[in-house]
Amino acid sequence: MRGHVLRRLPSALLILFVASLVIFAVLRLVPGDPATSLAGPDAGPETVAAIRERLGLDDSLPSQYLHWIGGLLTGDLGPSYAIGGQSADLISDGLGATVELTAAALLFVIALGTAFGVLGATARRGWVRAAVRALTTGALAVPPFVTGVLLVLLFAVLLKVLPPGGHVSLLTAPDLAVQYLLLPALCLALPSAAVLGRYLKDGIERALAEDYVRTATAAGVHPRRLLWRHALPNALPPAVTLLGMQTGHLLGGAVLVEAIFAWPGLGQLAEQALTRRDYPVVQDLLLLLVTVFVVVQLITDLVYAWLDPRIRWE
């Protein structure tokens, strides 16, 4: 396993390097710059010039890039241009909230996705299958910005059982935090859960048609065990790969959901930093997301190998 991780390391580093170049280049291609954003709508050229000077935007692009990377390598993510504070602090603040949200959403994805998949594939009653289909279709068809508003209307405004938005850290007050977490996590999770459910349903149906299920049936194994012990473990490995990709989507999709639920996470930070052209924050943040994705891919591979004994790391 260590060998596997080590073998993947060079290409992972390569991705990060290329990603850093792309991020840097794309940001400079986007019109508008931090100085004009900071100057405000009524500023004159001398104000803009003064700010550019202060931020070091007059330097050549390669030197700006090297400055950024150099800072990263020495652990200094640099100051935020437009938002205020240090980029590292902003990101670590948002990271906590985003990790909570993504992790909770992931739990929802797994729980709902498994339920959708299992029920969709095996439910005897037609109406259960119809309901599952309706739910998965709805989850894919209704975009999160509508789902989110509807969830808030229902649970916060009408029923008054959950807060409409905001964030309390799980570390400070877990009981409250969970209530704040529920709606955004659900909203974020629904589309991915539907995708996972479809995938699992397919996998389970396929597995149930396999010869080894017939073998187990012939041995008199109970249908419930056929599903959980024989079919599901075979449907899981590919679903794990999907889940790995969906984690990327969850991180990315957080932009919308965090806005709707006033969730102070990385998505909001990214949007804010991008609209203000806060170069250091956007750069650090995107590179972090790429890193997370690369790591998640690696974990996915390891989990896949763990779930599927035919694959070995050596």
Binding site: G32, T36, A39, D42, A43, R54, K160, H167, F261
Partner: protein, 495 residues
């Protein structure tokens, strides 16, 4: 514990009188930006909680004492003597003195601070300290918007200004101390027990909660999670109107105005007649009703009702008249124009742009919308790279009318986005800014500015928007100053 009852507005209105205690949660749609501390940004609500200003305008723009107790203008208008409160300390305990005022002015003169009133601050060329609490400011020339500056200029601790600009330490003399700024989620304040105004403030604490999404903002108010907000877009206000626990209070001071900007260097918009045609083509009332939820004042001139420059004839100088617009276009030799229109790619701005597009089309002006993200739009705006038409908002009409033309970039006589220049406009603006005239004479000068603005139509004002305050019914005593600094000195939660 329930996260709902935790923040819910539990009590009904009981005793009517002021009461100590309680926490007010304010929903804001964008976070505090420390680097914009000295510029007018879209979010300055916390300024007056942490800091004080020298004076404070009332509704008729008469200044009242804050940190300055009294003032005397020299007869030639070239200097002013300020007497300052002597019982004021900063949150860290350091006493407030004249040096802090000197620093505040000099600070605003620094271009890097991007202060809109820098031109006014720059007029102050000399400082004579007479003891710790009296100060004479010498002016390069007479200006008539000095109190705009005093309303705008927050008095910060001169020793920690760099930290303040990073958001790490905000040390002021105001009624609340900032305890924590969590970027992206909000600000927390606690009562300043040593506030110079005795027995104030009533509230124990104030929370600012960042809720960027309009719908989320609405939900936060509806559920009682927040008790106060000024940033619910007009379109979203409808659902709050009948809410039993909330009151909606529009301010008619006009914190901003939606306008249609015209680039006067692009043919045929260099022709005044064409610009006037555009001003007739737009249906301001419909815009107000449909895109802005009915909160605001349809007006062809930039002035809100509270402005000394406001006149009803100015407001209705242009009204919706497509026939007239077509007629004017025809007289200028056009039957159909195709022009781009830039707008911010935000839901509210897009609705305004769509509305304008339709109106203009009725007059034969076919515009292509260019939704643009705010940063790019800003860059185009201040580097004078706007396309033929654009729509945005401007501020500064709520204070002295002359401030508009010297501080609000769209109207700046020397350099504006419309690239409009006229010797006449420059003369009138400079005269209005520096003239000693008062009363009717001043009124005439203001009228001249209005006339030029209306006649030249390089900025076509559409709707004057005021702040709309949505507050919990039991929250009393909330006010805003002219620059939308939230003043909670006398605010209290009843019952």
């Amino acid at each position: 514990r329930s996260a709902v009852s935790e923040t819910g507005s539990a009590g009904q209105e009981g005793s009517a009188g002021p009461r100590r205690g309680g926490t007010v949660s304010v929903a804001i749609n964008s976070d505090f930006t420390p680097s914009l501390l000295f510029a007018q940004s879209s979010q300055s609500y916390q300024h007056r909680l942490i800091y004080n200003t020298l004076t404070r305008y009332d509704d008729r723009l008469t200044p009242h004492p804050e940190l300055a107790t009294s003032w005397d203008y020299a007869a030639d208008g070239r200097s002013i003597t300020l007497r300052l409160r002597s019982d004021v300390t900063f949150h860290d305990g350091r006493p407030f003195t004249a040096d802090d005022v000197i620093f505040a002015v000099k600070n605003l003169q620094n271009p890097a601070r991007a202060a809109q009133l820098r031109s006014t601050a720059a007029v102050i060329t000399g400082f004579d300290k007479r003891g710790d609490h009296e100060l004479v400011l010498r002016l390069a020339h007479r200006v008539n918007n000095l109190f705009d500056l005093f309303e705008f200029m927050i008095i910060t601790d001169r020793n920690s200004v760099e930290e303040a600009l990073k958001g790490t330490r905000l040390n002021g003399t105001g009624p609340f101390k900032l305890t924590k700024w969590s970027p992206g989620s909000g600000l927390s304040f606690v009562r300043n027990d040593a506030y110079w105004l005795k027995d104030r403030p009533y509230l124990d604490a104030v929370e600012f909660r960042v809720v960027s999404q309009a719908d989320a903002l609405v939900s936060s108010l509806r559920t009682g999670q927040s008790q106060l907000s000024f940033q619910v877009p007009g379109r979203n206000l409808a659902v709050l109107k009948d809410h039993p626990d909330l009151t909606i209070t529009p301010y008619d001071t006009g914190a901003g105005a939606t306008y249609l900007g015209v680039n006067t260097t692009i043919a045929p918009l260099n022709d005044r007649t064409v610009r006037q045609a555009l001003a007739y083509a737009v249906d301001r009332d419909r815009l107000l009703a449909q895109s802005l939820g009915g909160y605001g004042l349809a007006s062809a001139a930039p002035w809100p009702k509270s402005s000394p420059a406001f006149t009803e004839t100015g407001r209705t100088h242009y009204t919706h008249d497509p026939a007239n617009a077509r007629q004017l276009l025809k007289s200028a030799g056009h039957t159909r124009l195709d022009l781009p229109l830039l707008h911010l790619a935000l839901p509210g701005d897009t609705a305004v742009a769509e509305s304008l597009q339709y109106d203009l089309k009725q007059a034969g002006v076919h515009v292509t919308l260019q939704p643009t993200d705010p940063a790019t739009a800003q860059k185009n705006l201040i580097s004078q790279k706007m396309p033929a038409l654009w729509t945005m908002s401007h501020g500064f009409a709520q204070v002295q009318p002359s401030t508009l033309a010297v501080s609000a970039y769209p109207f700046n006589e020397a350099r504006n986005t419309s690239k409009f220049h006229s010797a006449e406009y420059t003369r009138v603006v400079q005269q209005a800014w520096t003239s000693p005239a008062t009363g009717a004479a001043a009124g005439r000068l203001r009228q001249e500015i209005s006339d030029i603005l209306l006649d030249e139509a390089f900025i076509i004002d559409l709707v004057i928007r005021g702040n709309v305050q949505i507050a919990a019914r039991r929250l009393h005593g909330v006010t805003l100053n002219k620059f939308s600094y939230l003043d909670l000195d006398h605010a209290y939660l009843a019952g």
